[in-house]
Symmetry: C2
Subunit: 267 residues, 2 copies
């Protein structure tokens, strides 16, 4: 089965990636801060319920906006992928080299590209997927959302993420490797990432990651094999030395099929 | 070896990092990437490390400061209790009634009192502990850190938290019940919370909590019985209906003895 999946043909058209749209990027950030919501169904009648100060300063915080995603996750208002993007923003620098190990429909690829692309053209996004459909979707999304100049910073590779160390230039210093484990949303649910290849990809990521870099995983567990894959990820994380790595997991306890977030931070 | 390789490669680049100080939207975003919190042991030489913008606004956010705690937790810089306090701030209103189910040395009691105390005098903190030493420590901490008027809003009760529903006035509308499970720091490590009483306390909390309220647990697992207590908490959380409750867990994967955070949000 897995040999079949690896044999998908390389499509040279996919290597030409595109675009830049700084305004949309700025706009999305400016709208990012003030959208905290009240928990649904609350009886609380006092207004502005979630909007409390920390009793801190009345000045602007340069960190404004991040709280929405993380606290929103706790209160069930934000998706796991949104939380992942938030964490990436805290790790990534303009000009960084990053890997989207599972392109899927390209939303992660676009998100990380926005974070690393700058005028210098040093940023790079290596996007991988074994399914041509996924890479085509990613390419289309890039066309719709970024500039041609930005798209040129992306390399889409039709390979399994377990082979990431074979295709990146030697000694590439990677700041982020992001995984969205499971199947392609809207695609063939029979084609999934597997424990075996994910473990190989994690081992490769571990080696390529620079200090201060992050391995980010959104692990879907609702399909056959998903739970085992999570166990593989957890076992890998548990084995990373505590002095060199901070490994944490965010999980919904009463939604056993909800995606699980795992962050492995190399310090 | 690979760490060394990457260090050598990255050091010159990172040493050139500078912060751009500006209030404009455009430039505040451009400074975003260069001022990320400096992970310990990285080679990143940028100063003012924690402060980076999301490129939002120059106005104050009512939620300013929260992100530091949660992202700090992910990056190993913030304690579990600090994250718990952060989440409480998002739930609590001035004038709320709250329960510190395990007073310990009183730090949680003081923290929640500050969040609910106001001039109206409606806020209430019910603090419980089976150890007189704990209640004495809590009382002393209150004397040192809050006003007499604020202290009058606190009721310290020398009982097991499993009996909380017996001592609170009937139909008390509780917004937060907070647990710090384990033993009294600095006290007798033989006296611990147990799975049995914790489960009773959770059942009582579930009934007393208003919609929009929170059960917050910091679960220590490094002592005998701690792991079983976590399992009890998880089983309780897993059994709460998904329509009525959001139940999430934050956990360090490569530090098996680190406290685990559990939040049960009644929506």
């Amino acid at each position: 089965m897995s040999a079949l999946r690896f044999s998908l043909r390389f499509n040279p058209m996919l290597s030409n990636i595109t675009l830049i749209q700084t305004k949309s990027l700025l706009f999305s950030f400016s709208s990012f801060s003030f959208s905290v919501r009240k928990p649904s169904k609350t009886l609380c009648s006092s207004s502005n319920s979630l909007l409390h100060t920390n009793g801190g300063t009345s000045n602007s915080s340069p960190l404004s906006g991040l709280e929405d995603e993380l606290v929103g996750y706790i209160f069930g208002k934000k998706k796991a992928t949104e939380v992942a993007h938030l964490v990436w923003r805290h790790v990534l620098h303009k000009g960084d080299i990053v890997i989207d190990a599972t392109c899927g429909n390209g939303y992660d690829t676009v998100a990380m590209l926005k974070m690393v692309a700058d005028e210098s053209g040093h940023g790079r996004v290596y996007g991988m997927d074994i399914q041509t459909e996924a890479l085509e979707n990613t390419s289309s999304l890039l066309d719709e959302t970024v500039t041609q100049k930005e798209k040129e910073l992306v390399k889409l590779l039709p390979i399994c993420h377990s082979r990431m160390d074979e295709v990146l230039p030697e000694n590439t210093a990677v700041r982020l490797v992001a995984f969205n484990l499971g199947y392609l949303p809207g695609g063939d649910k029979g084609i999934i990432t597997t424990s075996k290849t994910t473990l190989l990809a994690l081992e490769a990521s571990k080696k390529m990651l620079i200090l201060g870099g992050l391995i980010s995983l959104v692990v879907y567990v609702g399909h056959p094999g998903g739970r085992e894959e999570l166990e593989t990820v957890e076992a890998f994380a548990s084995g990373l030395c505590v002095d060199g790595w901070i490994c944490c997991k965010f999980q919904m306890l009463n939604r056993p099929l909800a995606p699980v977030l795992v962050f492995l931070f190399k310090r």
